[in-house]
């Protein structure tokens, strides 16, 4: 970091950069959520299933996020663990209308939490119980029960219901994430 960069940082001109992993099963709405968080001029109109992964950026009031938007398809899920080291926070997206695959989401979350790169680091995890607008969606409380989130003791976590198409609930989650990261840095 050059002297100028440091100066900019102190003055609050340049925001701190945070690497975030966005994980979740396929079709849960990861790319849509990231897209919705981007500034309106950078948003894309049609979203297609992610192949492999893509890197996206967005800024909040205090932080600059770099998001690894991973593909959630079964065959790409083994890519996730290669990026665990870089992640300083995790966004885990759940399709709350897909009751059948809740066990699969739980299984993937458990393997994530037990991974050596994640297990002993106190990184914040933000859960999005997405697709809240659908008729047969489960509530965020029910989702956290089914994923047994209460068993996560050594990490800060938060779950919020969201509707990524309209952008509802996303800001609340990102604000929480920002507070956590700031608290961590201090």
């Amino acid at each position: 970091m050059g002297l100028f960069d440091k100066l900019a940082g102190w003055l609050g001109l340049k925001k701190k950069e945070v690497h975030v992993l966005c994980l979740g099963l396929d079709n849960s709405g990861k790319t849509t959520i990231i897209n919705c968080l981007k500034p309106s001029n950078a948003q894309v109109q049609d979203i297609v299933p992610t192949i492999g992964f893509s890197i996206e950026n967005f800024k909040t009031s205090g932080l600059s996020f770099t998001v690894f938007d991973m593909s959630g398809q079964g065959r790409y899920r083994n890519l996730w663990e290669h990026y665990y080291k870089e992640g300083q926070a995790i966004i885990f997206v759940i399709d709350s209308s897909d009751k059948l695959r809740m066990v699969v989401a739980k299984e993937e979350l458990d393997t994530l939490l037990n991974h050596p790169d994640i297990k002993h680091r106190r990184i914040p995890i933000l859960f999005f119980a997405n697709k809240m607008d659908l008729r047969d969606a489960l509530s965020s409380v029910k989702v956290s029960q089914m994923l047994s989130l209460e068993n996560i003791k050594d990490k800060a976590w938060h779950i919020c219901a969201s509707d990524a198409v309209k952008g509802e609930g996303l800001q609340e989650g990102v604000d929480w994430l920002q507070d956590q990261i700031k608290a961590m840095k201090v």
């Binding site: 897909d98 009751k99 059948l100 695959r101």
Partner: protein, 588 residues
């Protein structure tokens, strides 16, 4: 899980392979593997579950479609479904498959979950004699009784079987005939067959989303291939028996192979351009399930056996199963390149066999009657099972699950580690052997002397018994008889039953009598002397009498029973019955 023991670890290991996604014990799905299919019916990338529900077998037959854990739609079926398949009829976009439900002589085609088309099997030829007779009935030339006689004569000698109407007519009572004839005589008679099994065959491409032809097996021992658009029969093969399971590979226009399991316990292999089955595999029992694994045919047989054959009919291996087979299915996990056979057993287990190696056991809550593995929703490795009680079980294969071929060579037998129960020898035994060593001669002599005496005593007693005929088994070779007596009751009235049996091979015994000898102050028997009926060899004759105890002081005595021959003083056999003490009060 150290406390779990070997079985516990086995179970947790099995759980480690499958995730329990959904279990609904009251889903009310009664079906078999042939009536379950998975397809992307709405073209939204999510596979739906299509179930032909048998209901009770008479009522409530439904075509149900599930999405995720909820039912999407329900269509009432008129008749029992025998097969449900999803196939692409055309190349129109979007590529939504049609659902074909076979029931009776019809195939109902549904598109977008709405009835679309009904295909009827062409009627079979009618017996010409039968046709003539019914024509005469139409013109009122024959009365119902003559019609019946004529039909009966055709039934026995005609080369073609009679139509359903004639067979029904032959079952009627005479008073019902008139009404039946007047109701049906104006309609033409026809003979129809029923579909027993159904499958699909790609028309000219090997792709997943290629246009498919329906392949059906019928009750009149034929396999037909239908055109996907025009629904005409394109090819027909006659079989020696009724087909029950079908497996189809290849493409209709290029080369195909149909493996058919039949009701006569044989498997036939049909290839393109063959009018007759090319190979035949004879099983030693009825097939319960048929699965093709790459180039091998795996068959579950009635005798708890799982057998594999090559397509030429060579037997490869046999596995003995712990319980009867309920149903079988193919587990084809394409993204992993893993193929195995799922076998649901009657002991509520689902076994997974890769070749002859058992790689996984899954315990289920109930006996599984139908199995289906494939892509359901968005998940590739989903196993859908329905149970005998109508439940629905959905399990998802873990992404990280690996089926390892365990070493199946048997270790040392279990009996090897069981300790033998050999009694310990104490000091008493050692002392005894020392004494025997020192005084062996005296011991031997004393024992021999005692033995002589014993023999003498035994012979004397035996002669005495023979002279008095005291034994309950007759010693006379001419009249082999056998008797035993049973006393029932607690008194003062007892029931005395004598079971007498003639043990000779062929000779009956006649002219026997029974006499009781007892203390007349203690007991009274109404008839103490009577005749026995003729004794047929082999049968046991229970002869009952009633004994009344007279003493009120709790004295019991012996009653003697003699079986006598008329004209001879010496009894043939004797029984001594020790009467129990009477526990009741003597009245009067």
């Amino acid at each position: 899980m150290a406390s779990g023991g070997p079985e516990g670890s086995e179970n947790s290991e099995a759980n480690a392979k499958w995730l329990d996604a959904h279990y609904d014990p009251v889903a009310n799905l009664y079906t078999f593997s042939s009536c379950v299919a998975l397809a992307d019916l709405q073209g939204d990338g999510e596979n739906k579950l299509i179930v032909g529900d048998l209901g009770t077998g008479l009522y409530n037959m439904k075509l149900k479609v599930y999405k995720g854990t909820t039912m999407l739609s329900e269509n009432t079926l008129i008749d029992l479904p025998t097969g449900v398949v999803a196939f692409l009829m055309d190349t129109n976009e979007p590529r939504t498959p049609a659902v074909a439900v076979a029931s009776g002589p019809y195939i109902y085609i549904y598109k977008n979950l709405r009835p679309y088309f009904k295909f009827t099997l062409p009627p079979l030829e009618v017996n010409s004699l039968e046709q003539d007779v019914w024509n005469q009935v139409k013109e009122d030339k024959i009365d119902p009784l003559t019609l019946r006689e004529m039909l009966e004569s055709f039934r026995d000698k005609g080369d073609k079987p009679l139509s359903v109407r004639s067979l029904r007519y032959l079952m009627l009572e005479p008073h019902e005939m008139e009404a039946f004839v007047s109701l049906h005589k104006m309609q033409p008679i026809k003979r129809q067959t029923v579909i027993t099994c159904m499958s699909t065959l790609n028309k000219n491409m090997a792709d997943e989303d290629a246009v498919g032809c329906l392949v059906i097996g019928t009750e009149n021992m034929e396999v037909c291939i239908l055109d996907p658009e025009a629904f005409t029969i394109q090819a027909k093969v006659n079989l020696p028996s009724v087909p029950v399971f079908l497996d189809v590979t290849g493409q209709f226009d290029v080369e195909f192979r149909i493996i058919v399991a039949c009701r006569n316990g044989s498997i036939y292999i049909i290839r393109r351009d063959s009018k007759r089955p090319k190979h035949c595999i004879e099983l030693n029992s009825q097939p319960v399930g048929l699965v093709r694994l790459n180039k091998n045919i795996v068959v579950g047989c009635g005798k708890e056996l799982l057998q594999a054959y090559t397509q030429k009919g060579k037997k490869l291996w046999t596995v003995q199963l712990p319980a009867p087979v309920m149903t079988m299915g193919l587990m084809d996990h394409k993204s992993k390149g893993f193929q195995a056979v799922l076998v649901a057993l009657a002991n509520s287990e689902v076994h997974l066999y890769r070749d002859k190696i058992l790689v996984n056991i899954t315990k289920t809550q109930d006996v599984v009657t139908s199995l289906c593995f494939g892509k359901y929703g968005r998940e590739d490795g989903t196993l859908i099972m329905t149970t005998k009680g109508g439940g629905l079980i959905i399990k998802i294969l873990k992404r990280t699950a690996v089926f390892e071929d365990k070493d199946t060579s048997p270790g040392p037998p279990l009996a090897q580690s069981i300790k033998l129960n050999i009694p310990r020898k104490t000091k008493l035994y050692v002392d005894q052997t020392l004494r025997e060593r020192e005084n062996a001669v005296a011991m031997h002599r004393a024992f021999q002397t005692d033995l002589y005496r014993l023999r003498l005593r035994a012979a004397r007693e035996y002669v005495k018994a023979l002279e008095a005929s005291l034994a309950p088994v007759s010693a006379d070779l001419q009249e082999p008889l056998n008797m035993n007596a049973v006393v029932q009751g607690i008194g003062p009235a007892f029931k005395l039953t004598l079971n007498i049996q003639n043990t000779s091979a062929t000779r009956p015994v006649i002219n026997l009598q029974i006499s009781f000898l007892y203390d007349q102050t203690l007991y009274s028997i109404k008839r103490s002397f009577f005749k026995i009926p003729m004794l047929v060899p082999g049968l046991t004759y229970p002869i009952e009498t009633f004994v009344q105890s007279l003493s009120d002081r709790g004295i019991s005595d012996t009653i003697k029973v003699f079986v006598l021959r008329v004209g001879r003083g010496v009894p043939l056999l004797t029984a001594h019955i020790h009467m129990p003490v009477s526990e009741g009060l003597v009245v009067g």
